[in-house]
């Protein structure tokens, strides 16, 4: 998977035609084989752009920053990224007419160690679902989507309750409350996060296990039915916490019980919590 040339050409063309003010893509990080996002505003810099299987970070995150708001943006999106973009569009955070979207038929990206990311081996929507232009040939088959349940949550769910409790206690204990997870999440765009409450009875900002538990639980519930499994959060976490567990757990519950689509696959679909069906399971309620 290497679309460096195509993306450089597209960016150059968009700048030449005056269609964009900024192009969001990837460049080499300058010290090893890995890449970092880059916001290109000067057409001369388009040669910096690259795209390979090292293009990991979900660039949709940049659509919520000062540098892109109220500008015309060209952006590269993989399958998962495009789903978050879809949600951003649905939730009115960006205007479609301000975007030029280069969609990728993604064959999966690799982590720093060169191994295919877990979310890519599990990927159910590899091709960008929103784009102005697609690169590559479609990876997903034409058949209906089969849900792949994350192996980690299956393994954990089988463990006894006490072990699970102990495992997650360790997770929350190692959280340092830097909130990098939420800042790197493209869908955490709130002006002020609900976790940052200042009132004493509502406060949860201290770096205690219980506050971390609270914050991460609330966070994952706010992303339930919306998380697109891009793993920006895990990439940003300085403690390398397995944050995907919470999201994948919610995703599987939603998928299995409400027969909802995966987040962001369908345009205008806001996620499971913003609609209901009369047939939703009722058996857990007395």
């Amino acid at each position: 998977m290497n679309y460096t040339k195509q993306i450089q050409d597209i960016a150059a063309k968009l700048f030449a035609e005056g269609k964009i003010d900024v192009f969001v893509g990837y460049r080499m990080n300058g010290f090893d084989e890995n890449q970092v996002p880059v916001l290109i505003t000067d057409p001369q810099d388009v040669s910096k752009l690259v795209f390979t299987d090292k293009s990991v970070f979900n660039l949709v995150n940049y659509l919520k920053t000062d540098h892109t708001r109220r500008k015309r943006v060209g952006i590269v999106v993989k399958g998962c990224d495009s789903r978050s973009l879809n949600l951003m569009l649905t939730e009115s955070q960006v205007k479609r007419e301000n975007l030029y979207v280069v969609g990728i038929c993604c064959e999966g990206v690799v982590d720093d160690a060169g191994e295919k990311m877990q979310n890519c081996t599990d990927c159910m929507v590899p091709d960008a679902v929103v784009s102005d232009e697609m690169l590559g040939t479609a990876v997903s088959g034409s058949g209906t989507l089969t849900y792949k349940k994350n192996a980690d949550i299956v393994a954990l769910a089988e463990k006894p309750l006490t072990e699970r409790a102990a495992y997650f206690e360790e997770v929350f204990e190692n959280c340092i409350r830097c909130n990098a997870c939420r800042h790197s999440c493209p869908l955490c765009y709130c002006a002020k996060c609900c976790i940052d409450q200042e009132t004493a009875t509502l406060y949860n900002g201290a770096n205690t296990t219980s506050a971390a538990f609270h914050a991460l639980m609330t966070w994952s519930l706010h992303l339930a039915g919306r998380c697109v499994d891009c793993r920006n959060c895990e990439k940003a976490c300085p403690s390398h916490l397995p944050l995907h567990l919470l999201h994948k757990q919610n995703e599987s519950v939603i998928y299995e019980n409400f027969q909802e689509h995966l987040a962001g696959v369908i345009p205008e679909d806001r996620g499971a919590f913003y609609k209901y069906s009369l047939k939703d399971p009722d058996d857990f309620i007395m």
Binding site: N29, G30, F31, D32, N34, V36, P37, V38, L39, F57, N61, Y62, T65, D66, H67, E170, V171, N174, I176, R177, C178, N179, A180, H183, S184, K192, D196, E198, A200, T201, Y203, N204, G205, A206, N207, T208, A211, N232, K235, A236, C237, P238, S239, H240, L241, P242
Partner: protein, 353 residues
């Protein structure tokens, strides 16, 4: 005062570590989810004193906790009882194993702000009661640039006991302070050879030179200090902060960042006041009650961060508020390097002038 230097082998070093652990409260890097954080350990097998620098969080939280209870209060109609926190759990006699040189240096930098005007006695107590054993790195990590900054890495006296794995296969332990000397004296029982500093010097120097030669990043901090001081209004800050996602993790892992927030948490009639880390990259950092915010946009906050590290702190306290550990770059989801930022900004500003 002259300090002792021991020469021993790997086994001798292990024995020393075990003796330390047996006699003192010991903190060392413990791996969880592939990342090392300094935690209390009882056995050497629980920790890794030579954890890779790229995967190790700093020792700062052992002196400046991520969250500290400031006080507890119980408010009833009978009155408000304010009680100070119970015994500070971190102010006991303790030893830190596996601290990096940059970690040790960070404490020297932080000493300045904590001992300025109002003295942070808790911090001081923790400093006094802690012996830092630091193994000198063999090789610089991709993002390290400690040798480019305003401190002498080779002769760093912020650490108490220096451990060097010599190229000759021997392990050198050098006390650098009285605290270190005392610890070595009390706990070092192996049949190691006690040598003079001068005798150990050539081998130690050789190791240092090899280490110093392994740095990818090099800069002239004086030039950076000088140039940055003049260019508050450069647009370059907007460019370098472009792909920052404002995630704040740089400040949380930085061994020298020391901004904090004070906040209350209350359950029933009992409240606790916490002091927790905060980051100047946070948009709410300077937001005032009336709604005025002097640094409302990202590049201004980035400028504050860079300038505080390389200009303001230097002006005020004579030190760079950066030890060149590269932890921020490693933790950054988009690998923004403070090194690159300050070099680029100062270079670009230099070009313009």
């Amino acid at each position: 005062m002259s300090f002792t230097t021991f020469v021993t082998d790997k086994a001798g070093l292990q024995k020393f570590y075990e003796a330390v652990m047996a006699s003192r409260e010991t903190y060392a890097p413990v791996e969880k989810f592939g990342k090392f954080d300094f935690k209390r350990v009882a056995r050497l097998s629980e920790c890794d004193p030579v954890s890779p620098i790229a995967k190790t969080l700093s020792i700062k939280p052992l002196f400046f906790p991520r969250t500290a209870k400031v006080m507890k209060y119980v408010a009833t109609s009978a009155g408000t009882d304010v009680s100070e926190v119970d015994e500070d759990p971190l102010a006991v006699k303790r030893v830190i194993l596996g601290a990096k040189h940059c970690d040790a240096r960070s404490l020297q930098v932080l000493d300045k702000v904590y001992n300025w005007d109002y003295i942070d006695t808790d911090y001081q107590k923790r400093r006094e009661n802690t012996v830092i054993i630091s193994t000198r790195c063999d090789k610089a990590d991709t993002h390290c640039f400690c040798t480019s900054l305003d401190y002498d890495v080779e002769n760093l006296d912020a650490l108490d006991v220096l451990v060097v794995n010599g190229a000759d296969g021997k392990t050198y332990l050098e006390a650098r302070t009285a605290k270190g000397e005392a610890l070595l004296g009390e706990t070092f029982t192996s049949d190691a050879v006690r040598v003079t500093k001068e005798e150990a010097a050539p081998e130690m120097k050789k190791q240092y030179d090899a280490f110093a030669a392994s740095f990818r990043l090099k800069m002239d901090y004086k030039e950076v200090n000088a140039k940055l001081a003049k260019i508050f209004d450069t647009p370059e800050f907007e460019n370098v902060s472009g792909n920052c996602v404002s995630c704040n993790t740089c400040a949380f892992v930085c061994p020298t960042c020391h901004c904090f927030k004070i906040s209350d948490e209350k359950v029933k009639d009992t409240g606790v006041r916490y002091k927790s880390y905060d980051s100047c990259n946070n948009g709410y950092f300077t937001l005032m009650a009336g709604g005025h915010n002097p640094r409302p946009v990202k590049y201004r906050r980035w400028r504050q961060r860079a300038m505080h590290k390389f200009v303001y702190y230097k002006e005020r306290f004579g030190e760079n508020l950066c030890v060149g550990c590269g932890k921020c770059t490693i933790s950054c989801p988009v690998n923004i390097s403070i090194f690159e930022v300050v070099s680029q900004v100062s270079a670009a500003a230099g070009n313009r002038q």
